[in-house]
Amino acid sequence: MKMKKVLAMAVSTLLCGTMLAGCGSSNESSNSGSSSNSETTTEKKTDAATTVADSGSEDNNGGGSSSGDLIKVGIINNDPNESGYRTANVNDLKATFTKENGFDASFAYSLKNEEQINAAQKFIQDEVDYLLLSAADTAGWDSVLKDAKDAGTRVILFDRTIDADESLYDASIVSDMAKEGEQAVKWLESQDLASYDIIHLQGVIGSAAQKGRSGALNDTAASKGWNIITQQTADWNAEKAQQIVQSVIDSGKKFNVIYAENDDMAKGAVAALDRANISHGVDKDVVVIGFDCNKWALEELQKGNWNYDGQCNPFQSTYILEVIDKLENGETLSQKTIIMDEKGFDAKTITAEDVENYGI
């Protein structure tokens, strides 16, 4: 009995430890699991800080010096391990909200809404000036945002929007998944192919990115009479995508477009094409479209192996900084919801600079 209890405790501490390692309760939390992880991110922070300083340092210093000391910011985000996109997003924020730039920032990561709400409450108690929030779930934020309003904490939503009254937050910076899909589909349309026979590899069904990216293709395919040969979810997984494309090849169906909703699946699809000696890329038999703009994916574009890569912009800190500057200077925002520009790269026009700047 005793043994079991001791063990249960050991296991639960271990689990807590791993959860902390995964979520990281604050920027200074450096437990054994993530110690070297956070080391590297801080390392990156300093050298990335210098690059960001170019873009925003003037404004920031202005903002910072006007109040005489650091602006206190509480940032609530999703788990950086969720995806490469999230990692880039987290690193971007970490690199921007530094002491050098005039900020005293605390971070909280979780994929669970209630944990995020707890973190928000803690930040409000700590009297942060700004609460930056990428909510895990759209519902349940009303009361905590009211608390924030009462406490005079300004709230800026980024990346994801929530179901709450507009008066409860100061600004909402969102990426438009549908727009991103539309851009890619528009690009595809502009290619003016003789026929459109598409293999559509979907992400995890029901996720925001999947809905946006699938919706755009479905709409246009219906209106333009494009032929979708196969529409399957590969759950963002390269190897499943490879199998699906392989099965289309095995069945002998003709196709000339692969629309993969992320880079991994595009890579898996290309592996299947290589196996069957089907050429792909710029001016080849099959057009390959991916999303997310991983650095390696952009390199594939550069080599002409793929044709197009769309991106849901993870670099949101410049938008946030703009909003904070305006608010600090007492200006009012013309509109609360700010839709970010989404990037999309064509293999024919991509430059080495693009790869360096926008690859995640």
Binding site: M3, K4, L7, V11, L14, L15, T18, M19, A21, G22, G33, S34, S36, N37, T40, P80, N81, E82, S83, G84, T87, Q202, I205, T230, Q231, Q232, T233, D235, W236, N237, A238, E239, Q242, Q243, I244, Q246, S247, I249, D250, S251, G252, D264, K267, G268, A271, L273, D274, R275, A276, N277, S279, N294, K295, W296
Partner: protein, 365 residues
């Protein structure tokens, strides 16, 4: 008249086959094969073509099945042993594949994850990933055997933490191996038209066959799984035997992860081998092995793994709507599991026997 004894013999033969463990996966394979044959005979077409490097390659659905089923079949080996000895399953194999694959990438791509050439020989990366995977297997094994935690609960720890550990190994980056020879392991070796994973899987089958033939692992694992107290009184060390099965599963994980990494020269730690643990457990169950331990048949589990892959490929082939895919899979699985239930097999066996008795009655008259 002469035909009659033959039918009698045949039905008794059928009755005895039905009771054999390996009957279930074979029956399932046959059902799937017949279904495909009726729906579209071209399913079984195999063609010889060339890949982008100009090497000859065989392609076709059957090739795809034995190719993509390799990882699952390899995992089924370890999962069968773990199930037999510890009366429970390891649900952390997917996460362990993410870890093990990340180790391969880390060693081949170096700490900065963007090296253009290999940073270490492939064999070094493979051996390192084996050691890491076996260490995590040992961790699970120790929790199960020494601390006597239920296997599912014990492996839940790694299931939860594994993908974070995998992310940490490459600092959340997704390195890609830029080396043609590395891709041979998940693709084709020049000049050989059969996918390499098939050979790796066969090599694993031979190894486990040799291990079971030249050691007493099989007897010990079964004895411990059936009756731990008796095993101890017969001089066995049940804890050690359970432990060793988890380490063996770790080795299987390393091999499966290596194939996965090689297939597309990279893996994404957050999605690679997602839910493969469930498929591996299902393979064991489809093989007719009791999930509560004891007697096992590894060859039945391996066949079970290929049944699952056959099913997946069939569903892809018929382009089942993405959101309906799990439902179809579930229906087939329910059918197969019901078929494998002892009570149904008893009935089937009795049915085949009853086919025989009217024949006797007839010949008397």
């Amino acid at each position: 008249m002469t035909a009659r004894p033959k039918t009698a013999e045949k039905s008794s033969f059928l009755a005895s086959i039905v009771r054999k463990q390996i009957f279930i996966p074979i029956a399932a394979l046959l059902l799937l094969a017949i279904f495909n044959l009726i729906m579209d005979p071209s399913f079984f077409k195999i063609t010889l073509g060339h890949n982008i490097e100009g090497n000859p390659v065989l392609s076709g659905n059957i090739i795809s099945i034995i190719d993509y089923g390799s990882e699952l079949a390899i995992l089924a080996i370890g999962m069968t042993l773990v199930t037999a000895a510890s009366r429970g399953q390891d649900i952390s194999v997917g996460a362990a594949i993410a870890i093990s694959g990340s180790v391969v990438l880390r060693i081949l791509c170096g700490p900065n994850a963007d090296a253009a050439t290999l940073q270490a020989p492939i064999i070094v990366a493979f051996l390192a990933s084996c050691i890491v995977a076996m260490a995590f297997g040992a961790f699970n094994g120790a929790l199960v055997s020494i601390f006597r935690i239920q296997p599912m609960v014990a492996t839940l720890i790694l299931f939860t933490a594994g993908r974070s550990i995998a992310a940490w190994i490459n600092h959340n980056k997704l390195p890609v191996v830029n080396d043609k020879t590395f891709a041979y392991f998940g693709g084709y070796i020049p000049g050989i038209p059969i996918p390499t994973p098939v050979f790796i899987a066969i090599a694993c089958f031979i190894v486990i066959w040799i291990v079971l033939k030249f050691t007493t692992l099989g007897l010990y694992a079964q004895a411990v799984g059936i009756n731990e107290k008796t095993s101890r009184l017969n001089g066995l060390n049940p804890a050690f035997i359970k432990f060793i099965t988890y380490v063996i599963l770790g080795l299987c994980v390393a091999v499966a992860a290596f194939i996965k990494v090689s297939r597309v020269s990279t893996i994404n730690y957050s999605v690679v081998a997602k839910d493969i643990e469930m498929d591996a457990i299902l393979a064991v169950a489809l093989g007719g092995n009791s999930l509560s331990g004891g007697k096992f048949s590894i060859s039945a589990s391996i066949l079970g793994a290929y049944v699952i892959q056959f099913l997946t490929t069939t569903l892809y082939k018929f382009n089942v709507q993405a959101d309906a895919l799990p439902a179809y899979k579930a229906v087939v699985v329910i059918l197969l599991v019901i078929l494998s239930a002892p009570i149904v097999r008893e009935k089937l066996s009795a049915f085949f026997k009853s086919l025989r008795s009217p024949v006797k009655a007839e010949s008397k008259s």
